[in-house]
């Protein structure tokens, strides 16, 4: 048995195809991004080594910092919305008729392509015929805002469909975690006289703390690297008012053909995601994980 299952040739045959793919398609590009970020390069011509010039320029680039600020703002909004999803999940995981159908309905937006969602929300936000402003004028609002053209609100206008897209995903995860709590624990707490609030606060939430931590990491990192919807809906505009890190990178690399500078942004994004993951894990680290 052991001999058959230790056959080096078989192991190589099974592991190498997939391993080579992620090395060539994921790990080598990551290193190359770091390398290109030290170059001045238009993507076609010669590369010239400029050391840290791209990063020095980045530090002074107010548009870059604005996009970083926007990405962080999205991260804050996403994490805050997790609280809402927790409340919905706690209710949904109680004795609710139709809970299964409800969580399926919540999940539907997450299954659609970002382009379809973006195109749909472009119509919803349409100044005169969109669903939102038609509804507002039905309510008697005379001068509804132009959601995507007004630089002071455009950022929040693109956040809403992103939250809409992912709500069902987090509710699904919390729901599954809450349903995983052994009913004996809940019953024991009820016998001890715990009311529903205490049950939620002191028993259920601590028991799914591990899952909550994971979702915080997912929400923060997912927000920092977010791209699709914003790129399709506004392209970062008007005038950079909805620019985020990834869309700024895309614009610099594939629109202005400044591949070196784009790589510096892309590499900064990677570092940011790694640091954020590490920091959240550190901050939410507890000595004892709840066991049950």
């Amino acid at each position: 048995m052991d001999k058959v299952m230790s056959d080096k040739r078989v192991i190589a045959l099974y592991v190498l195809p997939a391993l080579l793919m992620i090395i060539i398609l994921v790990y080598v590009p990551i290193i190359m991004t770091g390398y290109y970020s030290l170059m001045k390069w238009d993507g076609i011509g010669e590369r010239t080594f400029v050391a840290l010039d791209n990063y020095k320029q980045l530090l002074k680039d107010s548009m870059f910092w604005k996009s970083v600020y926007h990405s962080f703002l999205l991260a804050v909004f996403s994490v805050l919305s997790l609280g809402g999803y927790l409340v919905v999940s706690l209710v949904l995981a109680g004795r609710i008729k139709g809970a299964n159908i409800l969580r399926k309905i919540y999940l539907i937006p997450m299954l659609l392509s970002s382009v379809a969602i973006a195109q749909l929300w472009l119509r919803i936000y349409h100044p005169s015929n969109g669903m939102l402003n038609q509804f507002l004028s039905f309510l008697g609002v005379d001068d509804p805002p132009n959601w995507l053209a007004d630089p002071s609100i455009v950022l929040y206008s693109v956040f809403i469909p992103i939250i809409w897209q992912y709500a069902g995903f987090y509710i699904l995860i919390y729901y599954a975690a809450l349903k995983n709590i052994p009913s004996s624990i809940i019953e024991a707490a009820i016998i001890d006289g715990a009311n529903p609030w205490q049950l939620a606060y002191k028993i259920k939430l601590p028991l799914i703390a591990g899952v909550i931590k994971v979702t915080i990491v997912l929400a923060v990192v997912g927000s920092l690297k977010y791209f699709d919807l914003i790129y399709v809906m506004t392209g970062g505009g008007p005038n950079g008012a909805s620019e985020v890190i990834a869309s700024y990178m895309y614009q610099k690399a594939f629109r202005s053909f400044n591949f070196g500078y784009g790589s510096a942004i892309a590499f900064s994004l990677l570092i940011l995601c790694i640091v954020a993951t590490w920091l959240i894990r550190k901050l939410t680290h507890t000595e004892e994980e709840v066991q049950y």
Partner: protein, 282 residues
Amino acid sequence: MEKSTYIYMKKIGMFLFYMMLFLVAGLQILPLVWLLFFSLKNNQEVFNTPLFSLPSPPRWENYVKVWVEGDIGLYFFNSLWITTVSVIFTVLLASFVTFAITRMNWKLKHVVLGLFMVGLMIPIHSTLIPLFNFFMKVKLIDHPMSIVLTNIGFNLPITIMILLGFYNALPRELEESAVMDGCSVHRMFFQVILPMTSPVIVTTTIINMIYNWNEFVFVNTFISSDEYKTLTVGIQNFIGQYTTDWGAIGATLMISVLPILIIFFFLSNKIMEGITAGAIKG
């Protein structure tokens, strides 16, 4: 508190809970209902009838028009075959790796597993510029192969993660008796392990189908010819030509999301299982 007041309070509480849950459901589903309705209306009706008025008569000609006039059929076909090929290879290669990691004995397996798991966290945008350059050099830019390769590479980690839980729970006795009977590793893998893992293969297949069908950044960056575009990027261009025809835009969007919605309707439990397993380890 008197018992009757307590029951009364509880009823009000439950009512408010249901109100909240239905409100969230409404927010999630109404935009799509609105989309379905305006995809069956003409501009006159979109602009002049109430928001959620039923299209009467439903203008199915919007769907016929965008399918016949545009390249939607071509984009649809591209999405279909690229998704199919990517999914088959992703699930097969991931099954090989997961089998070797959970069942076979070798020193570096934890390092290799670590490489796949860290791959989950890497933002794809940080790989985009070198990948563009790489595909340019190997003449795969504007070639569907670049999309198939990146689809496979970037979905291997999550597929392996979903497979791991299932493989770890498989009993080992079956393999032992297979080896006793003189079965080779390959035969064991294809005739014993793969059939036994069919439930999780279905899960990973559906999850991969959804991700590949919806893939946007790679197609948008690597593909420039219309003939290779997939539905996600194709509808983006297509809608550009129809900026003022709401019915045509609605019909195009409906065609692009319908396959996923149909799959979800029949296999929602599998999809939910896959999403949960892909997000949280174990």
